[in-house]
């Protein structure tokens, strides 16, 4: 018998004569206290994110590239990691080309092993899309893709995320349900709620522990 067989046999033996507990899942408890009127939804998300040092800006589909450029310029950042294979990446590239900003765009188009050093030490900022947001907790939903891999939202000190206002849900339950998570999960799914932080030294909060020091969320009100 393998360890697996022995463990399972022991557990089964202990359950003889018992009946499984019924599933009386109470979705109402996870949704009703966490519902927001359409007008308040984005405000809630912003206040939750800002309470944990996330920065948010309301903008539009047309204007966000300029906002991103301004945010980078304000921080003296001359280089941005962004995917050229996404619609938003292409929109940004066109905007950069038409402007005099001189921002260098670079792509994550090789396996991480091939450019670890550069990713870790010479990539000051990244921009990615999101799959939506959660108002209750001020969270972004990311399902990294081959175009926007996992480390893109983790390693660079500044992460700029695009969030479509129409894709913000009230709570995690509604989001999981609407996006059919249970029918197939990706390699990695993430909820991101603010920049990286720690309170491990005498309960004193410090931002920028191992992940991004800053998170800027550009909320596209008309998308």
């Amino acid at each position: 018998m393998s360890a697996k067989d022995r463990i399972l046999a022991k557990l089964r033996g202990s359950l003889v004569g018992t009946t499984p507990v019924a599933d009386d899942y109470d979705a109402g408890l996870l949704t009703e206290p966490w519902r927001y009127a359409a007008d308040d939804r984005i405000a809630r998300l912003r206040s939750m994110l800002e309470a944990v040092h996330g920065e948010t800006q309301l903008t539009t589909q047309a204007d966000w590239p300029q906002r991103a450029l301004e945010a980078l310029a304000a921080r003296n950042i001359g280089e941005l990691l962004v995917s050229p294979d996404t619609a938003h990446g292409q929109q940004l590239a066109a905007h950069v080309a038409a402007s005099a900003a001189g921002l260098r765009l670079k792509a994550y188009h090789q396996p991480v092993e091939a450019w670890k050093e550069e990713l870790f030490f010479r990539t000051p900022a990244s921009l990615t899309g999101t799959l939506g947001g959660i108002a209750a907790t001020g969270s972004l939903v990311l399902w990294p893709t081959p175009q926007e891999p996992r480390l893109m939202s983790l390693v660079p000190p500044l992460h700029i995320a695009l969030l479509k206002a129409s894709e913000v849900r009230d709570n995690l339950y509604e989001l999981m349900h609407a996006q059919h998570w249970a029918s197939g999960m990706p390699t990695n799914a993430l909820l991101v709620s603010g920049p990286s932080k720690t309170a491990d030294i005498q309960q004193t909060l410090a931002y920028g522990a191992h992940g991004p020091k800053e998170l800027l969320v550009l909320i596209l009100e008309d998308a």
Partner: protein
């Protein structure tokens, strides 16, 4: 199989540790401050008492349901993870679990392991095991990193370095990392970040724990604030997750109430910065993430707790740490005094299954039974009732029932058992009781002033001249 050795277990020197901790004013200040902070943070997260109680009941049902189908769910988890490309391993003991990890390490000729926070890896003493075999294990959670630099163990399951204040961390970094002394926490964290960053991508293997393992989808869910968990599970070419067999839940949606209870109870956060859900290794077209993902499912005494309907509730635990934050004993003596990986109330009820009641014989009695732990536990584990039960198991006569707990009866004493028997007889036989109280009151002058441990911190009781029964009877005019 776990070896039931005949070597007498050496009990943890709890009483000595506790005395030492109580005599350390710095330690007591650090814990008092930290616990007040964590209790306040939790309170703010649950403004609606009704919502809290309903959510606790919900969390309890979700855990109870998972445990009521545990073998089936574990098999489903195994099947779904395997289908996703994750290699699942099973271990009955920590020795087996360590050997599994070491085998993977050897297959990859790995020299360096980076770890996210994992209490199960502490339970396994994985750092030590791999260290002895020439493999470096570096902790990447800031608190764990600090504790490792001090060659200590975590003193809290959520905040490992909670026993230290900023000055102590500043001196540590100054001594060990050769940086200028600074008490600026932002600067200290940046020093930690810089030190660890290179290690993430030099590591051959990343190790993490698991907060919830979802049977339905084959998903491992991890919560964290720092990003070190995401780093450890994404950057190295191999990821090994280690967890206890009880961590499984049935459906993906089951994590929603548990996640809310966990982060709000633990650190008073609506949600942690990251909720990281891993369902497989890197796919052919993906550019990062580990090429291999392993899950080690560890029993280590959990199936023993599972065997008993009452003790099974121990396995509801979602390791939030709220019971220790609210425990008057933990707050005063800190985490190290327990001498176990899991300190505080949860440690007292879970460790006896891992190490045996003989080794841990003082833990179930290290409680004032104030009940705070049971009141705050987000999954409603009746911790005080389980402590009482373990006390009973510890003194159960060896021949009374077949042994189902390791170390059961380790506190059994014939003399004590006989005394209790006599006490029962005395209190259930009216004639005897009357004679006793008559003697007790009339001979009160003979009461010794030193009656062992009782009088160490209290004055000796002085029996009244006449018993309450007598006075009552007189009052009612019965005599």
């Amino acid at each position: 199989m776990s070896a039931m050795t005949d070597v007498p277990a050496v009990p943890i020197a709890f009483k000595r540790n506790a005395r030492e901790a109580l005599a350390d004013p710095q330690l007591r200040r650090n814990f008092r401050g930290a616990m007040d902070f964590l209790m306040d943070k939790r309170r703010v997260q649950f403004p609606d008492g009704d919502e809290l109680e309903r959510l606790r009941a919900f969390g309890n049902r979700v855990r109870a349901r998972a445990l009521s189908k545990l073998p089936e769910l574990l098999e489903r988890l195994d099947a779904n993870l395997s289908r996703n490309g994750v290699k699942v391993h099973w271990a009955e003991t920590v020795e087996e679990a360590n050997a599994i990890v070491h085998r993977i390490v050897e297959q990859h000729a790995a020299k360096k392991v980076i770890k996210g926070k994992s209490m199960v890896s502490e339970e396994m003493e994985m750092n030590h095991y791999l260290g002895e075999r020439g493999v470096d294990c570096l902790e990447s959670d800031m608190g764990e990193f600090i504790v490792q630099l001090r060659e200590e163990k975590p003193s809290h399951i959520i905040m490992p370095a909670i026993h230290l204040n900023v000055g102590q961390v500043a001196s540590l970094f100054h001594d060990k990392l050769e940086v200028d002394y600074t008490e600026d926490v932002d600067r200290l964290i940046q020093i930690g970040r810089e030190t660890l960053r290179r290690n993430f991508f030099e590591a051959d293997i990343g190790v993490s724990g698991v907060n919830f393992a979802v049977a339905e989808t084959g998903t491992l869910l991890l919560v964290e604030n720092e990003g070190n968990g995401r780093m450890s599970t994404t950057v190295p070419p191999v990821h090994i997750a280690v967890t206890g067999i009880e961590k499984v839940v049935e459906n993906l949606r089951d994590v929603i109430p548990l996640l809310s209870l966990l982060t709000r109870s633990a650190t008073g956060q609506a949600i942690t910065t990251y909720v990281n859900m891993i369902s497989g290794p890197r796919k052919a077209d993906e550019l990062d993430g580990p090429q291999e993902v392993h899950l080690v499912l560890l029993d280590n005494g959990r199936s023993q707790a599972f065997a008993d309907g009452e003790l099974r509730q121990t396995l509801n635990c979602i390791r939030c740490g709220a019971c220790m934050n609210h425990c008057p004993v933990y707050t005063r003596i800190g985490g190290h005094a327990y001498g176990t990986v899991y300190p505080g109330p949860i440690g007292k009820i879970v460790t006896p299954h891992m190490l045996g009641l003989d080794t841990t014989r003082d833990l179930p009695t290290a409680s004032s039974m104030c009940g705070a732990c049971g009141e705050v536990c987000p999954v409603k584990i009746p911790i005080p009732a389980l402590l009482r039960r373990l006390r009973e198991e510890a003194v159960r006569a060896p021949e009374a029932v077949p042994h189902h707990m390791r170390g059961q009866g380790s506190k059994y004493s014939k003399k004590e058992a006989m005394l209790w028997k006599a006490w029962r007889k005395l209190n259930t036989s009216p004639a005897l009781y009357r004679a006793f109280s008559f003697a007790g009151t009339r001979l009160s002058a003979l009461m010794p002033s030193n009656i062992g441990p009782w009088t160490e911190h209290r004055s000796a009781p002085k029996p009244a001249a006449r018993s309450l029964h007598e006075l009552a009877r007189e009052h009612l005019g019965e005599d």
